[in-house]
């Protein structure tokens, strides 16, 4: 007979709640991340904050992607559409109305969310690989539309003013903007994973017909998942566009950007709460290291590719997933 974990009510009902020591480690990590901007004596302060900002941004985006791609099982290779839409909304409001993207970011998220729901109506007609490809198509369609929409700058894009912060502080608001988004996105991911909705989404991923026969309004849940997963990319898009001072289709709608969402989630562990977080940090740092140390040569691209391939071959379920499968996952990373 199979050796199954003996189900106790506690284990099943509350297994999801991290225990005390877990919370402590997490709190320490979070405190470290939150206090980083106070480490002003660091020589490479602005650079560290910059990389931190990018990592946090991707934590927010990968965690959001994971709601659709991880739990619901619909791999989107066009999620940067929402990233870009967020950037445009934030950028246009800044240029036209002079409102800071830090204020309009939630609105940008909302617009992305609504777009997500609308797009879902169409793309959800396909499943599996066809869905993946339809999301790529979505990306290219939106690209084309924005590229030809002169009101928002067309191919030339939008040029935004520099953020009016003093140099030594200029990174800080962006850093905290991304941190808040990242924390909220992870919390949302956690909430989804630990809610009935998460159960519904995973059921959809497993077998849609069965899920529906079990009483789940699959269409509604899928649209909800799509919309939720579009929110934070929209939010961080607005902030990121501001930090770039520049919003242009080619910068936001590249397939390589879309792929990052997928890579981070899969490498970290798709369908787990901690996976996208680990994956985002891993990929961004890997990129930084490889362009820094192999930067002089084109080999750095090959190197990144190689790492991806190796990570996959040796951690087929992602870092978190594989560690869990072999029971080596440290407790403080087990957020599921």
């Amino acid at each position: 007979m199979t050796d199954v974990r003996t189900p106790t009510p506690e284990a099943a009902v509350t297994s999801s709640e991290p225990n005390r020591s877990r919370w402590i480690v997490l709190a320490v990590v979070l405190a470290f991340v939150a206090l980083l901007p106070f480490a002003r004596w660091l020589e490479s302060y602005n650079y560290v904050l910059q990389v931190g900002t990018i990592i946090l941004m991707w934590v927010a985006m990968a965690s959001s992607w994971n709601i659709l791609g991880g739990y619901t099982g619909y791999t989107s290779l066009g999620h940067n559409v929402f990233f870009g839409i967020g950037a445009y909304v934030g950028g246009m409001l800044l240029v036209e109305a002079g409102i800071s993207p830090f204020i309009t970011a939630p609105l940008a998220g909302l617009v992305a969310m609504i777009t997500g729901a609308i797009v879902g109506l169409i793309t959800f007609r396909a499943k599996g690989p066809a869905f993946i490809i339809s999301t790529i198509a979505l990306l290219l369609v939106i690209f084309l539309l924005l590229d030809n929409w002169e009101y928002v700058g067309g191919a030339n894009g939008l040029s935004l003013p520099l953020a009016p912060f003093e140099l030594s502080w200029v990174k800080v608001p962006f850093y905290y903007g991304m941190l808040v988004s990242a924390v909220l996105a992870v919390l949302l991911g956690y909430r989804v994973a630990h809610s009935k909705m998460g159960l519904a989404l995973r059921a959809i991923a497993a077998d849609e017909v069965k899920a529906e026969v079990a009483g789940i309004d699959t269409r509604r849940f899928k649209l909800m998942a799509y919309a939720l997963s579009a929110f934070f990319p929209g939010v961080v898009g607005a902030i990121w566009g501001y930090s770039l001072t520049y919003v242009r289709p080619t910068a936001f709608f590249a397939i390589s950007v879309a792929a990052q969402f997928v890579l981070m989630s899969i490498i970290g562990g798709r369908g787990t709460v901690a996976g996208p977080v680990i994956g985002a940090a891993f990929i961004i740092m890997l990129n930084e290291l490889s362009v820094t140390y192999l930067g002089g040569s084109e080999i750095n691209l090959a190197f990144t590719g190689l790492i991806m391939v190796l990570a996959l071959l040796f951690f087929p379920l992602g870092l978190v997933g594989t560690l869990r499968a072999t029971n080596k996952l440290p407790g403080w990373l087990d957020w599921d």
């Binding site: 007979m1 199979t2 050796d3 499968a325 072999t326």
Partner: protein, 249 residues
Amino acid sequence: MALLELRSVRAGYGVGPDILTDVSLDVEAGGTYVVIGPNGAGKSTMLKAIVGLLAPREGTIEFDGQMIGGKRPDQVLEAGICFVPQDRTVFPEMTVRENLVMGGYLLRDSAKVAKRLDWVMSMFPILEERAPQLAQTMSGGEQQLLALARAMMIEPKVLMVDEPSLGLAPQAADQIFDTIRRLSDELGVTILMVEQNVRRGLDLADHAFVLDLGTKRFEGPSKEIGEDPRIRDLYLGAMAPDVQEEGEG
């Protein structure tokens, strides 16, 4: 020496626990054998291990003087063991005819395939009727029938069937049991099957194994097994034999 010999076979899935803890059994050429046991006992797992869908972790599987443990399914099939799994697997996007042709994949000779095809179709006229239909559009039972028929495209030394009667209407089930009996009687094919319809399984087979918790608990001539009160209480339920008596009596 037996045609098929399992010795202390231990097997399981992936990194999971052992499902078969220690299974040894002999299958003699020309015999008909039935494996019975509760759900989850490891019956299907045993057949999968024999046929190579699962590599044994320990122990040996010898067939016709050849070690087949750990070999690939196509190699095992080439050696002479044909297997029809429990969740009948047809080729969904091939027609019924193509599915049957695939059954003769190993024959290589297209004339031979055509001949077998005629024979199988004549045996299961419903398939002849449905020849151009895509397999995935057939009903559950029809697919079961197709998978069974496909296995008959070649003449294996051993035919292993996981629950031949599953999903079949009584008439169709009768026909399948008939066919199996004929394969055994007329062509001398060795039969090893799993059957939850215990009554019919024991009827058909001359020898039975009882599997539980991953090991062989009992074995013996079907008749004895069917009448053994311990086995009857534990595995056959009150109903099967009683109903049989009722029904026929």
